[in-house]
């Protein structure tokens, strides 16, 4: 039994942030499923983590950089770049019109 419920609005908001379209049925199903998952992961609050350093990488590496050089090894030709789309025009990808008067 989920102690924290997501509201339908929150589910819709998440879907919008993530650029996903959901059917009404999906919104409801996800509301239940996500709520129980959120409940489960909330378990972490049982732990005291004051003064613990967050670990977002496990390698312990730092300063892995590259020199400022051009390397044609991985360069893609225009054909290769466009190869996965049929509706390209004059070398560019076509997208739904963006209603802006500038970039």
């Amino acid at each position: 039994m989920a102690t924290k419920q997501l509201t339908l609005e929150e589910v819709i908001h998440l879907a919008r942030l993530a650029h996903l379209t959901l059917t009404d049925k999906e919104i409801e199903t996800y509301q239940t499923q996500l709520s129980s998952i959120i409940d489960y992961i909330g378990k972490l609050n049982e732990l005291n983590t004051d003064n613990v350093d967050p670990a977002n990488q496990v390698t312990g590496l730092s300063n892995i950089l590259r020199d400022d050089e051009i390397n044609p090894e991985r360069a893609l030709s225009q054909d290769e770049v466009l190869s996965n789309k049929n509706d390209t025009k004059q070398g560019k990808f076509e997208v739904d019109a963006i209603l802006q008067n500038n970039e």
Partner: protein
């Protein structure tokens, strides 16, 4: 091939010897595997794409061998989990979003395998985007366990495990983010390696959890596993997380005696939830190791019970980020084509990263991850390696956990902690439980694959052949 023998015709030792002695050509052996695929795959569904250039590649390999080329995997057919970018060969990630995507480049791991002379058999099935533990989340149909067609082969490298187990490929590459090589390996009675995070380049492998994804492979035996790692391991300038430790010839360092080696059993794993027969088999495996001279002690990973929660905060967050590039602009279908599990993970990830929740979930999880890393580091102060069952349960039936995502996530409890810490782990078959495959994990320090290969190899030799019948 009906009973599992270690030194079977799918071991790389056997295959390479035959090729080197010219007893068989790469074309012949590749054709054999292609025939097996034709014969068996309609029942298993391990392959999404079979490489229609495989025989050409095999012919080229044979020509190279004639000219004296000495590639370590020259002429050896290999299957690749369909998250490995292969130039000119469709790469779907098991999802309708990429059902027609043809990468214009090879992943580094693929390049290395090709440079060593390997022949690409095809791309194997998987839980879409590697999200899953059963192979049931593929948009290209479910994969069946060759040892029980009604059971799951485990996931997410379901196709790779099933292919190797059923003799459709001698080696199949996979990825392990939270157990996705080891779990299917243990469900399918084969050897699965999750190398140290960063040992094998992730460049070109469709990313799931960027700080978790380990690039590994599935083989019939430990020697083959060690050999393949000596090929795929790399310090790659194109992947900033591959670090500075040189690759060794792992397969050449096997066979050292293991008496005096200290092994740790994780106290927190040996409790309720572990299937009693698996527990018994694990006990037998421990006895075998003790007979080989190992000392087995109990160790504690005090925070390991929180590993799964931590994992299911951090990985979906990285997933939600990594799947952002599937926008249909440059390649692929629109985001409407994502399946339910993918959408679920993306939304969870979006939630835990969103404004107001970052500290409570994501940042908190990063801290718990640190605690788990410390637990492993502490454990390795007193033992050389850690052993554990790979799965708390035998392979479950197809459909059994489909409607309970949480229950599905819990099948990862013995495997996902290793991904949190970035340590290497190798799953090797034990005696069957309930007449179904199960595996034992050997876990080592970061970049200490040599130790776990050596121990696992010794165990494998002592264990001998396994009396388990394929259902295909």
């Amino acid at each position: 091939m009906q009973y599992y023998k270690i030194m079977n015709s799918n071991s790389l030792k056997v295959i390479l010897e035959k090729l080197e002695k010219r007893e068989i050509t790469s074309v012949e052996i590749t054709k054999q595997y292609l025939d097996e695929i034709k014969k068996k795959d309609s029942q298993i569904n391990a392959f999404i794409t079979v490489n229609d250039k495989a025989l050409n590649e095999a012919k080229l390999a044979d020509d190279k061998r004639q000219r004296g080329d000495k590639g370590v995997l020259l002429g050896v057919p290999i299957a690749l989990k369909d998250v490995y970018s292969t130039r000119g060969l469709k790469t779907t990630a098991g999802s309708r979003v990429l059902e027609n995507y043809i990468p214009p480049y090879d992943a580094t791991a693929v390049k290395k395998l090709k440079q060593a002379g390997a022949v690409i058999l095809g791309k194997t099935n998987l839980d879409a985007w590697a999200h899953g533990s059963s192979g049931e989340n593929s948009d290209f149909g479910v994969t069946h366990n060759p040892y029980d067609l009604k059971s799951t082969p485990g996931g997410s490298s379901s196709g790779s495990a099933a292919a190797v187990a059923s003799g459709m490929a001698p080696v199949a590459a996979g990825t392990d983010t939270g157990g996705s090589i080891r779990l299917p390996a243990s469900f399918c009675n084969v050897v699965g390696l999750k190398p140290t995070y960063g040992r094998v380049s992730r460049y070109g492998i469709i990313a799931m959890g960027s700080s978790f994804d380990s690039i590994g492979h599935i083989t019939q035996d430990v020697f083959s596993s060690a050999l393949v790692l000596s090929v795929t391991g790399e310090i790659d300038p194109n992947d900033g997380t591959t670090g500075k430790v040189a690759v060794t010839q792992y397969h050449k360092l096997l066979g050292k005696p293991i008496n005096g080696v200290k092994l740790g059993i994780i106290k927190e794993f040996m409790k309720e939830g572990l299937d009693s027969e698996i527990k018994k088999n694990f006990g037998k495996a421990c006895k075998t190791l003790e007979d080989l001279g190992c000392e087995i002690v109990e160790i504690s990973l005090p925070h390991v019970d929180y590993a799964t929660s931590t994992y299911y905060i951090l990985v979906p967050a990285e997933v939600s980020s990594n799947l952002g590039r599937m926008d249909g602009v440059r390649f692929g279908n629109s985001r409407d084509h994502f399946s339910a599990e993918a959408k679920r993970r993306v939304m969870i990830g979006t939630y835990t990263l969103s404004s107001g929740y970052y500290d409570a979930y994501y940042n908190k999880a990063l801290k718990v991850r640190r605690l788990i890393i410390n637990d492993f580091n502490n454990a390795f102060k007193s033992v050389d390696a850690i052993i554990a069952p790979t799965s708390p349960t035998p392979p479950f039936k197809l459909g059994e956990k489909l409607n309970e995502p949480l229950s599905m996530y819990l099948s990862d409890i013995y495997v996902c902690p290793m991904n949190l810490a970035g340590v290497p782990a190798l799953s090797v078959p034990m005696e069957p439980a309930h007449n179904l495959p199960c595996g034992i994990q050997f876990v080592g320090r970061q970049f200490d694959e040599n130790t776990i290969f050596n121990i696992a190899h010794a165990y494998e030799q002592a264990r001998g052949d396994i009396n388990l019948k394929l259902k295909i």
